[in-house]
């Protein structure tokens, strides 16, 4: 059976004066239709680069270093997006995989009306669509995301932050994509607006049975919307499992640390974990496990050898030599 999107050992590095920044360094995952996958990681861990690599929206200094992105294009034969010609690739953008960008505030062009920008996307992929039909479709999308269709004729600066975010979601839906990548869709918003947007995205996803990839630094946000969660650290996935497992039984010490570093509003007021040190420099990451310098469980093996990313349980992938055992309390001795 074909999966919708299959990323295999994807590697993408940025070339700089000091050497290669290994932003995406061997990422693998599958995505089924209708599924919500969350990627969580700290700033600079390469999570945004993953999405940009899949859509091939990279700056000039980015270089592919191997791997495949297999996308099921509905006629039985998956295409490898990495090896497509640029003109071919354009057909898959937005129609196959669309994106909700990190900074929704800035992803609308200030000099065009919002409606026209969405119409442009539709007519680009379906050139035969007359403008009025496309406009009708945009009006429907606006209703779907909870915006007044009359706002189509307005410019982005006349929108509030939450409205812009909704318009961007409507734009992402405009070509009926099979996958939507949402990169920090709510970071700049206040909690109440964030809550509403998250609910809407989730509802639309369920309604249209779309596959989604959520990218965020905030585990709580990811937990609200994803079926499966991947934890990314320094250019690699360290753990991937369904969201309940990740929360109830994290096996990677980093995942464990993240779970326990999060203050809770109403739950028990527990002592928070501090992970010592800083994430590694991706120009020269540690030789062995990339988490080794900060890991309380690290030993000689971790220093020497990078753990392989394997399926340890059904659907539970892990890259760690010394997984956290059930019930174990990991002591991070920070300062």
């Amino acid at each position: 059976m074909l999966v919708l999107l299959s990323v295999k050992n994807l590697k993408m590095h940025y070339k700089t004066k000091m050497g290669y920044v290994r932003a995406v360094d061997g990422i693998s995952f599958d995505l089924d239709s209708g599924e919500g996958l969350g990627i969580v990681g700290e700033s600079g861990c390469g999570k945004t680069s993953v999405s940009m690599t899949i859509l091939r929206l990279l700056p000039d200094n980015a270089e592919f270093k191997g791997g495949e992105v297999l996308f099921d294009n509905e006629n039985g034969e998956p295409v490898n997006l990495v090896s497509l010609a640029e003109s071919e690739m354009r057909r898959y953008r937005w129609k196959g995989i669309s994106m909700i960008f990190q900074a929704a505030m800035n992803s609308l062009n200030p000099v065009y009306k919002v409606g026209d920008q969405i119409v442009e996307a539709i007519q680009n992929h379906f050139p035969d669509t007359p403008t009025d039909v496309a406009k009708k479709k945009v009006a429907e999308l606006f209703k779907l995301v909870g915006l007044d269709p009359t706002r189509m004729e307005q410019y982005p600066h006349q929108y509030s932050g939450g409205m812009k975010q909704r318009a961007v979601i409507a734009m992402a839906l405009s070509c009926d994509p099979r996958i939507i990548i949402a990169d920090e869709p709510t970071t700049a918003l206040d909690v109440i607006v964030q809550d509403r947007i998250l609910r809407e995205i989730r509802a639309i996803q369920k309604k249209l049975n779309m596959a989604m990839i959520y990218i965020s630094h905030d585990i709580a946000v990811i937990a609200e919307v994803s079926d499966r969660i991947a934890v990314m650290y320094a250019g690699k996935f360290v753990e991937l499992a369904d969201s309940v497992t990740i929360f109830k039984r994290p096996m990677h010490p980093y995942t464990y640390g993240l779970m326990h570093a999060f203050p809770s509003v109403t739950g028990k007021k527990v002592d928070l974990v501090t992970i010592p040190g800083e994430p590694p420099d991706l120009l020269a990451p540690p030789r062995g496990c990339r988490f080794y310098p900060r890991c309380p469980k690290g030993d000689k093996l971790c220093e020497e050898k990078d753990p392989e990313y394997v399926e340890v349980d059904k659907g539970h992938f892990l890259a760690c030599h010394h997984p956290v055992q059930p019930g174990e309390v990991v002591q991070f001795n920070a300062e």
Binding site: E42, S43, S160, G162, D190, V191, I192, V193, Q194, D195, L198, R199, H217, D218, I219, A220, V221, A223, E224, S226, S243, V244, F247, K248, G257, L258, M259, A261, F262, P263, S264, V265, T266, K269, L272, V273, T274, I275, P276, E278, P279, A334, E335
Partner: protein
Amino acid sequence: MQNESVVATDTILKVENLRKLFPAERRLFGSVRYFVHAVDDISFEIIRGDSLALVGESGCGKTTTGKILVGLYEPTSGKVFVEQEDVTPLLYEGESSARKYIESTYLEKFLSMSEGDLKRIEGVEGLYAQRFADLGKNRSKFIEEFLKDRRERVGQLRRRVQMIFQDPYESLNPRMTIYDIVAEPMNIHDVGTIKEREERVADILASVGLTPPETFMFRFPHELSGGQRQRVAIARALILNPSFVVADEPTSMLDVSIRTGIMKLMMKLAQDYNMSYLYITHDLAVARYMSNNIAVMYLGKIVETGATEEVLHHPLHPYTKALLTAVPIPDPEEKRGEPNIKGSVPKPINPPKRCRFYNRCPYAVEHCEKSDHPPLKEVSPGHWVACYVVSGNAG
């Protein structure tokens, strides 16, 4: 009388009816047509050793409040007391208005009096009169001395109140070394010799966890990570031993794995240096960890305040409730309800005379629209709410 003595023992900061209006739109000839009511008539106090978290969404006036307290903005009205002293004229008035004040209140009177009369005046005025007489009724000398004295007092005050800023990438001057940044307050207030400054900087850097200090002292901010920069910012705020620090979302720009380290450090320093925080944040969970009192702000007003645990576990104001339900919970199995709130945050430009929360409130009744914004009422000991419906005054 009794009340006064209580105040005299522990209040470290007291704010009375603070209000700040920003001009929003001007007419053709400069008169202001609309005002943004950024902070609108708020009062609170902080007892020594305690701290207060100011929570709210962006634009609710929490940062403005913090900036007023360190003298970055001048309040439109209201008073600020630091350790029982009314510092409003010191913090916000320039020297010229102080000079005018002293001239109009004292000098004109003194000049017409004889030396003997001057010596007979009592109280604060008497002290001035004494001084004036001692200076041989020299007007300019007296003013000069007065201003010098005032400058001294302003300096003292500035040293007692410090601020930590949100963005560790922007709040450090990129062209200064860590040493220069941390020592800057000493430099401004001319404290200590260069040698003493070096020692003090090394000490403080060590105590914020930048060890060994000598490896950090002569580096530039861009060579440090976000967490380290925020530590530098904390060191800088603490170098003059303030008794009170305004912390404006110091951890919101940091990653989770680093954030808790900074939070713990700040807690520890508060104990070691015996100081209080006004902790400004949008994150209720962080507020819970950082302070024992909390005040929830909405459109320039405090709508609910009390002990943190009490407010978070028994929220009364509909806005606090909505805010609490909207916080995502890092547990996929726990399903929370939908926040019970309508619409979106309006801009606080010339707000109508009614409850600020009226048009978003699911419980609003007629009384809420007819009357002014509700005053804070104590509904249980130490727990104050500004809501007609909750306090049972909805008419």
